[in-house]
Amino acid sequence: MIAYIMCFILFLVGLYGVITRRNLVKIAVSLSIMEISTFLFFALVGYIDGGVAPIVDPANPAKIYVDPLPQALVLTAIVIGLATTAMLMAVIIRLYRKYGTFDIREIKNLRG
């Protein structure tokens, strides 16, 4: 249970960072922390205490295996996370070229 709570705390750390940080890159990093906590949660969901890697052993079929599906899901989600982070970083670099700063308080053309 403690692992789940730690995972949730990691999510909240990321959320805190997204809300309070003023630097664009730090916001992106906080978003990545949230992402990692979600992946960790998936890995925990598939874990079974005392389980082994899910390769069927014909000699001893009664073994307990960990659930392989969440691992597959996490791999997919990591690739997606890579794409979102790359996209975010590309936009941040462009923003830096336009404004010459990473401070979010100075980037506020759009209001109302």
């Binding site: 664009l24 949230m34 979600t38 969901v45 969440p70 462009r94 336009k98 759009l110």
Partner: protein
């Protein structure tokens, strides 16, 4: 197994790939190829509209049959509700692609634009057709990432800022959704929507169940820009190139937001009164606040974007009323009337909001400004744009005989029959304020005397743009035919049946 179903995803994805490779060598390939792809998809989506009816088609990707009646493969599902949304996605996509042929000359890098456009269409089709939760997430990310790029396509400071905001909030929404999917998998050990329904109906942990519902609602609510989650929408939709704004506002928020909320809360979770009241409240709040935020805007595209929030509020409210009645076990005529109103308004909104954004794009194309105060007198120089935008404005503000009037009428009648008098009154009030706001748009853009000397020698936009706008305005008028009970019955009833009969969806998928 209908072999045509996966084409909705495969063709746009392959199209994006081919555009990037062949478009490099052959100029103008991208424009016509994208239009051709979308035309083909529109044709097969309308073919499905005719053959689907009460059927539910299932396509098992890779041919993985269920083992001991437990689905193990990826399912793509086409039913009465899906087919409506697929039709509007591909139709509006096709018209936007035609419109882009001229409009995209403002930008460089046409290949990237069209490749992202195809990716977005493929992602949305995938979300709508997917029968399991994780694929909904994957396709959602495909369409959302391409929409991030398209919002920032102008790479000016405003576009980049809007895209940044959109990405932060969109990323947050994605993680909420992913968390929700993780919890669902934890509870049920399956990802197939039909199978999850079966697992939930044989008992669940109440606290976790509520937590999952909140996670899913807030995640997809962020994508659909329902009011407490709306902050990104006006920036993102007004900064994108106009055909993309038409796509984002017209279909994107429906396909990845409203559609998934309706599908999951009717067909996956058991309909509960508490959740239904929450959804109705959120819908009503976005309906009322959206229009008040819209009324003070002078930037046309921001004004239209705020109206999208308000009009989506109508859809959510109406469907929510249906949910409340369904959970109370009320008469099925009122339930189906409320849901029919919501779906009808969803279809109508795709037509008229798409058209309005294309009009705004045409105005921006000729005058080079989006500020209403700098326009004026365009009615004479741009007659087609003026006439089509008049039709769209009257549709959105609910003036008979245009389509918006009938869907709002059905929503209001359903609210009165369900004895929600306050909601009916608010719907009428919001409609009146919408009318006022669009009269302002018409007056300042088209009928005022122009103070700006630059507006003297303006001509009508090129043919492809005119073509899209005229077709959409004809659709706006034709859609009001849906109010005739026979036509409504053939098109909307299969969707309503799938939504209200809470076991039909999961049972008929699991036996196939």
């Amino acid at each position: 197994m209908n072999p045509l179903i996966p084409l909705f995803v495969v063709i746009p994805l392959a199209g994006a790939f081919l555009i990037m490779i062949i478009g490099r060598f052959i100029e103008e390939f991208n424009k016509y190829f994208t239009s051709l792809v979308l035309l083909f998809l529109t044709c097969i989506s309308f073919y499905f509209l005719f053959i689907t009816g009460e059927n539910i088609f299932v396509y098992k990707v890779g041919g993985w049959e269920p083992i001991n009646s437990v689905p193990i493969g990826i399912y793509m599902v086409m039913d009465g509700f899906t087919v409506i949304v697929v039709c509007i996605i591909n139709l509006i996509g096709f018209l936007s692609a035609i419109y882009s042929i001229s409009y995209i000359k403002r930008y460089t890098a046409g290949n990237y634009f069209y490749a992202l456009f195809c990716l977005m269409i493929g992602g949305m089709n995938g979300v709508v057709l997917s029968g399991d939760l994780f694929n909904i997430f994957v396709f959602l990310e495909i369409s959302v990432i391409s929409s991030y790029a398209l919002v920032a396509f102008g790479v000016e400071s405003n576009e980049l800022e809007a895209s940044f905001k959109y990405q932060i909030l969109g990323g947050l929404a994605s993680f909420l959704i992913l968390f929700g999917i993780g919890f669902i998998y934890w509870e049920t050990k399956t990802l197939n929507i039909a199978d999850i329904k079966q697992a939930f109906s044989s008992g669940y942990n109440k606290t976790t169940y509520l937590f999952i519902q909140i996670l899913i609602l807030s995640g997809f609510g962020l994508k659909a820009a329902i009011i407490p989650f709306h902050a990104w929408l006006p920036d993102a939709h007004s900064s994108a190139p106009s055909p993309i704004s038409a796509m984002l506002s017209g279909i994107f928020i429906k396909a990845v937001g409203i559609y998934v909320i309706i599908r999951l809360f009717f067909n996956m979770f058991a309909v509960s009164e508490g959740m239904a009241v929450l959804i109705t409240t959120l819908g009503t709040i976005s309906m009322v606040i959206g229009v008040f935020l819209a009324i003070g805007q002078w930037d046309i595209k921001r004004l239209l974007a705020y109206h999208s929030i308000s009009q989506m509020g109508y859809v959510v409210m109406s469907v929510g009323i249906g949910m409340i009645l369904l959970s109370r076990g009320a008469k099925s005529e009122i339930v189906s009337l409320a849901i029919a109103g919501g779906l009808f308004h969803l279809i109508n909104h795709a037509a008229f909001k798409g058209l309005l954004f294309l009009n705004a794009g045409a105005i921006e194309y000729t005058t080079g400004t989006r500020n209403l105060k700098e326009m004026g007198g365009l009615a004479k120089s741009m007659p087609v744009t003026s006439a089509t935008s008049f039709i769209a404005s009257m549709s959105i503000s609910g003036v008979p005989p245009f389509n918006g009037f009938f869907s709002k009428l059905i929503i209001i009648i359903a609210a009165i029959m369900a004895k929600f008098y306050l909601l009916a009154a608010l719907a009428v009030l919001v409609s009146i304020i919408t009318l006022a706001s669009f009269l302002k748009f018409q007056r300042y853009a088209f009928f005022n005397k122009s103070a700006n000397p630059k507006n003297q020698n303006i001509r009508e936009v090129p043919f492809p743009m005119v073509f899209s706008m005229v077709i959409l305005s004809i659709i706006c008028i034709l859609l009001s035919l849906l109010v005739i009970p026979e036509i409504r019955h053939t098109i909307l009833s299969p969707a309503i049946d799938v939504l209200t009969d809470h076991l039909k969806y999961s049972n008929s998928i699991l036996v196939q």
